[in-house]
C-alpha cells in the first residue's frame, strides 16, 4: 500500500509538468495582448509598450516558461500581472473556499444519491423508483447557473406565503451571496450538489441491480441473513466500487462547476479567480491556479484508488 502511494505520487509529476506546459502554451496561443488589456481599450501605444516591458512579456516563450517552472518548484508561482500580488497569496484563502464548496456538495450528492439509488434499486419499478428516477433526470438536466438563480429567487429574495400557513410568512431564509455562515452555504451547495446527486443515484441504482442478481446475494438470503444485512453488507459494499469511481471523477467536475456557482453566488473562490484571470490574460495566476486544481484532482483520485482496497480486499494496489 505504501509503495503504491509513493508510486502514484511520483506519477503525478509528469502529469503536472504536462498540465503546466499545456496551460502555458494555451494561454499564449489565445489572441489578446495582456499589456493591451491591462492598459484598457482607450490607452495609448507607448503605455502598452511600457507595461509589456515591465511584465517581461518581451522575453521568448521558453525563457518565460523556464522561469515559471523553476520558481514553481520552490513554491513561488510568480506574481499577478494585474494586481502585483504573489500568486500564492491570490490563491490563498480562495483555495479552501472552493475545496469546502466542492466537498460539501460531494457529501450532499453522495448522501442523497446513495439513499435515492438504494431505494430505487430495492423497489425496482415501484412508484418510488419511477419518481426518484424522474427527479434524478430532472436534476441531471438542469443547468446549475439557472438552478442557482432560481434558488436565489425562491429562498433568498423569498416568496410571500399565504396567511393560512402558520409561523412563516416568507421563504426568504438564506443569503444570496458570500460564503461562511450556514445561511450562505446552503443554496450554493444545493446548486452544485444536485447534478452530482442525480448521477450518484442513477449509478447506485444500476450497480445495485447488477449485484442483487448475483449468486452470493441469493446465498446470503438463503442462509437466513437479515434483509438489512444483505443490502448493506453484501450488496451495497460491492455495488459501491463504480459509485466511488464516479464520485472521484465527479469531484473534478464539481471543481469546474464551482466556476459558475461561485459567479452566481458571488463566492470568492478559485473558480472566479480563474475566469477573471483568463479574461485579463493574467498568465501567472491562470497557470498557478490550474496547477493547484490539477494537484487537487490528482490527489482526490489517489484517495479513490486507495478506497477501492477498503471496499474490496481483492483489489491489489501493488
Amino acid at each position: 500500500m505504501f509503495t503504491f502511494i509513493i508510486r502514484r505520487l511520483l506519477q503525478t509529476i509528469p502529469v503536472l509538468i504536462g498540465v503546466s506546459i499545456l496551460v502555458f502554451s494555451l494561454m499564449h496561443l489565445i489572441p489578446g495582448d495582456p499589456a493591451q488589456i491591462m492598459a484598457g481599450e482607450s490607452a495609448p501605444e507607448e503605455q502598452v509598450e511600457n507595461i509589456r516591458e515591465r511584465l517581461g512579456l518581451n522575453e521568448s516563450l521558453p525563457v518565460q516558461y523556464g522561469k515559471f517552472i523553476t520558481n514553481a518548484v520552490q513554491g513561488d508561482l510568480g506574481s499577478s500581472v494585474r494586481s502585483g500580488r504573489a500568486v500564492t497569496k491570490e490563491i490563498g484563502g480562495r483555495f479552501w473556499v472552493t475545496v469546502e464548496l466542492a466537498l460539501y456538495s460531494t457529501i450532499l450528492s453522495v448522501f442523497l444519491g446513495l439513499i435515492a439509488g438504494i431505494v430505487s434499486a430495492v423497489r425496482q419499478y415501484s412508484f418510488s423508483d419511477v419518481a426518484i428516477m424522474i427527479v434524478a433526470l430532472f436534476g441531471l438536466s438542469m443547468p446549475n447557473f439557472w438552478l442557482g438563480l432560481m434558488l436565489i429567487q425562491w429562498f433568498a429574495m423569498g416568496i410571500d406565503l399565504p396567511s393560512w400557513i402558520p409561523f412563516i410568512d416568507s421563504t426568504a431564509w438564506f443569503k444570496p451571496s458570500g460564503w461562511g455562515s450556514f445561511s450562505q452555504v446552503v443554496l450554493p451547495v444545493i446548486t452544485l450538489g444536485t447534478a452530482g446527486a442525480a448521477i450518484v443515484a442513477r449509478m447506485t441504482r444500476s450497480s445495485m441491480l447488477d449485484v442483487i442478481d448475483e449468486d452470493y446475494i441469493r446465498t446470503a438470503r438463503a442462509k437466513g441473513a437479515k434483509e438489512r444485512s444483505v443490502i448493506y453488507r453484501h450488496a451495497l459494499k460491492n455495488a459501491l466500487i463504480p459509485v466511488v469511481t464516479v464520485v472521484g471523477l465527479q469531484f473534478g467536475a464539481l471543481l469546474g462547476g464551482t466556476i459558475l456557482v461561485e459567479t452566481v453566488f458571488a463566492i470568492n473562490g478559485m473558480g472566479t479567480l480563474i475566469v477573471d484571470s483568463i479574461q485579463a490574460r493574467d498568465f501567472p495566476v491562470v497557470q498557478g491556479t490550474i496547477l493547484v486544481v490539477s494537484l487537487l484532482f490528482v490527489f482526490v483520485n489517489l484517495i479513490v484508488d486507495i478506497s477501492y482496497n477498503f471496499l474490496n480486499k481483492r483489489i491489489d494496489l501493488d
Binding site: 489578446g32 438563480l149 433568498a156 443569503k175 459567479t263
Partner: protein, 536 residues
C-alpha cells in the same frame, strides 16, 4: 423492505426539519433592520451607517497608476483627491487646487489648498504634487495613463502652495487631464517607500496598492481581493467630512444576484444595472433605478483601410440605412440618446446645431449605387462578448440586408477582439469610447487622429489630413470660444467622413435602495459618495 421505507421517511423528516431550522435561524440582523425601518420614518439627514455597494467587478489596483478601469478608480476617488474635480455637468471645480490660470499659452499655474494632510499625517504641498506627476511620467512605473501628461515639459515649485506646469506646446485641456483619477495625489512617504521597494525588485505600486494613503474623505481599511474593499470615514478631513461611517465595495458579478442583494438589503447599491433588469427593480417598493447621461459613445465602426469602406459614399450609405432607435429601444430599452457625431452632448464644445446623417433607406440605396455597389456586397462585423454589443451587431446585420449588404457576425472574446481590431483585421466592428477626461479633445483626438491608428483608439483607421489638422489645432488653441469653433468644424467634417455609425450615448444605470440619499453619479460613471447618507 420495511426498513427502507422507515429510513426514507427518516431522511425526508430530517430534510424538512433542517429547512425549518434554517428558516428559524434565518437572519436576526435582517429582522431587526426591517423593524427599525418601520419604527423610525422620520426623514432627517443622518450621520453614520455602512454603505454596501454591490459592484460587478473588483478593483484591479488601488495605486492610481496601477490600472485603468472604472472599478479601481471608483474606490480610489474616495481615498485620493485630485487637483481639479469634475462635477456632474462635466465642468471643472477646485479640488486640491484652489484655483488655476494660464500665465502664458504653454505655462499653467495652480494655487494649492493649504492645511491639507494625508491619512498618514504627512503634509500636502507643491513638492508632493510635483512628486506625484513625475511618478506618472516615470517610464519605470509604467503608468497606463502617462500619455495624458506627456506634453508636460517642466514642473516648477514656486512656493509651498504654488506650482507651475510648462508644456511642450500650448495644451488647452491640461486642467481637464489633471481631473482624471490617475492624478489622485498619493502620500509622499508612501511613494518613497514604493520606490525603495522597486529597488529591491518589487513591482511598481506594490506598496501603494497594499496600503493606499491619500487625502480623501475616506480612508482605506481592508481589501480582500475578489471579495470586497472597505473604506472608513476620515474624521480629520480638511474640508467637510463624509456622513457615512464606512463604504464597502462588494464584488457580485452576476446581474441577478446583485438585484437579490439590493432587494434583500444585503447591499444598498447595484453598480451597474443592465437595461433589461430595470423593470424588475422598479417593481419593488424599496428600490429605485437612477439614470445618468454618460460621456460615452457606442459606435459601429468601418475599417477605412479596407475596400469598400475606403469609399465615403459606402460609409454614408450604411450610416443612413441604420435606424438607431431600433438599437436604442430594442437593445438598450430606451436608455440612451441617438448620437450625431462622436462627441457626447454633455461634453463642453458639443454642437447641437449639427444634424448628422438622417435615417433614409432610399437615399442609402442611391448612394450605394453611386459608389458602384448597386447589388450590395458581403462583409464581416466584429463584436466583443458583451451581450449588448452582440445584439447590436445582429441588428445591424438585419438592417443592412435591406440595402443588399450581406453581413456576417463574428463574436470574439474581449481580449482577442481588442487585439485583432487594433491590427485592422476587421471590416466593421461594434465598440465604444469613453471621454475619460471630460474634454472634447479626448472625445476625438485618440479616437480619430491618424496618429492614433490601431490600439491607441482609432480602430476605424481614419486618416484624414484636414481632420488631423483641426484636431491638432483644437488641442493647442487656448481660448475656449476659438477652440470650440475649431471643433464645430471638425464635427461637421466628421458627418461627411462618416468613419463610423455614431449609434448612441448610453445612460448609466444604478439600482439603489430608497434609504440611500444624495448619491451622485458622474457622466464618467464614477460615484460621488461624500454627501451620501442612509436615511433611518
Amino acid at each position: 423492505m420495511n426498513f427502507s421505507r422507515k429510513s426514507f421517511l427518516f431522511v425526508a423528516f430530517t430534510l424538512i426539519l433542517s429547512l425549518f431550522l434554517a428558516a428559524c435561524a434565518g437572519d436576526p440582523e435582517d429582522d431587526s433592520d426591517s423593524t427599525n425601518d418601520d419604527a423610525t420614518e422620520t426623514s432627517e439627514k443622518s450621520e453614520g451607517g455602512d454603505l454596501v455597494i454591490a459592484t460587478a467587478t473588483d478593483a484591479v489596483s488601488l495605486d492610481p497608476n496601477g490600472s485603468n478601469d472604472i472599478s479601481s478608480f471608483n474606490v480610489q476617488m474616495n481615498i485620493y483627491e485630485k487637483l481639479v474635480n469634475q462635477d456632474e455637468d462635466v465642468e471643472l471645480q477646485p479640488g486640491l487646487a484652489e484655483s488655476w490660470e494660464t500665465i502664458e499659452d504653454d505655462l499653467w499655474e495652480f494655487k494649492l489648498q493649504e492645511g491639507v494632510t494625508f491619512h498618514d499625517g504627512s503634509e500636502f504641498n507643491a513638492d508632493v504634487v510635483k512628486m506625484n506627476i513625475e511618478r506618472i511620467l516615470d517610464p519605470d512605473v509604467g503608468s497606463s495613463q502617462a500619455s495624458l501628461y506627456e506634453m508636460i515639459e517642466d514642473i516648477e515649485v514656486v512656493d509651498d502652495y504654488t506650482i507651475r506646469f510648462k508644456t511642450e506646446y500650448p495644451f488647452a485641456p491640461l486642467a481637464s487631464h489633471l481631473a482624471h483619477p490617475v492624478t489622485g495625489i498619493v502620500s509622499p512617504d508612501l511613494i518613497e517607500e514604493d520606490y525603495a521597494a522597486m529597488e529591491d525588485g518589487s513591482d511598481p505600486g506594490t506598496i501603494i496598492n497594499e496600503n493606499p494613503v491619500g487625502t480623501g474623505y475616506f480612508k482605506f481599511d481592508e481589501w480582500e481581493p475578489g471579495n470586497y474593499v472597505r473604506l472608513v470615514r476620515n474624521d480629520d478631513y480638511w474640508n467637510e467630512p463624509a456622513h457615512l461611517d464606512s463604504v464597502t465595495f462588494k464584488v457580485v458579478k452576476e446581474d441577478g444576484t446583485r438585484i437579490a442583494e439590493i432587494s434583500t438589503g444585503e447591499a444598498h447599491i447595484s453598480h451597474p444595472v443592465s437595461p433589461s433588469d430595470v423593470e424588475q427593480i422598479e417593481q419593488s417598493d424599496d428600490l429605485v433605478v437612477t439614470e445618468q447621461s454618460s460621456v460615452r459613445l457606442e459606435y459601429v465602426g468601418f475599417n477605412m483601410a479596407k475596400e469598400p469602406f475606403d469609399n465615403a459614399l459606402v460609409r454614408q450609405a450604411i450610416s443612413m440605412a441604420i435606424d438607431k432607435d431600433q438599437i436604442i429601444d430594442g437593445i438598450y430599452e430606451g436608455f440612451g440618446v441617438p448620437a450625431v457625431g462622436p462627441i457626447p452632448p454633455d461634453i463642453p464644445g458639443f454642437d447641437d446645431s449639427i444634424s448628422g446623417l438622417e435615417y433614409d433607406v432610399d437615399k442609402a440605396k442611391e448612394l450605394l449605387a453611386e459608389a458602384g455597389y448597386a447589388d450590395g456586397f458581403s462583409a464581416t462585423i466584429w463584436t466583443g462578448d458583451e451581450r449588448e454589443s452582440i445584439d447590436t451587431a445582429v441588428n445591424v446585420q438585419s438592417q443592412l440586408e435591406e440595402i443588399g449588404i450581406d453581413l456576417k457576425v463574428e463574436e470574439l472574446e474581449w481580449g482577442a477582439f481588442l487585439d485583432q481590431t487594433a491590427s485592422g483585421e476587421h471590416d466593421m466592428l461594434v465598440v465604444g469610447w469613453t471621454s475619460g477626461t471630460g474634454d472634447i479633445d479626448y472625445s476625438t483626438y485618440p479616437l480619430l487622429h491618424s496618429k492614433n491608428v490601431g490600439s491607441p483608439g482609432n480602430r476605424t483607421f481614419t486618416e484624414d489630413e484636414e481632420l488631423d489638422e483641426l484636431l491638432d489645432q483644437g488641442r493647442q488653441t487656448p481660448g475656449e470660444d476659438e477652440r470650440f469653433e475649431i471643433y464645430k468644424e471638425a464635427q461637421e467634417l466628421l458627418v461627411d467622413i462618416a468613419p463610423m455609425i455614431y449609434t448612441h450615448h448610453p445612460q448609466h444605470l444604478l439600482g439603489v435602495r430608497n434609504e440611500v440619499k444624495d448619491l451622485t453619479q458622474l457622466p464618467t460613471e464614477y460615484l460621488l459618495l461624500k454627501d451620501v447618507y442612509i436615511e433611518e
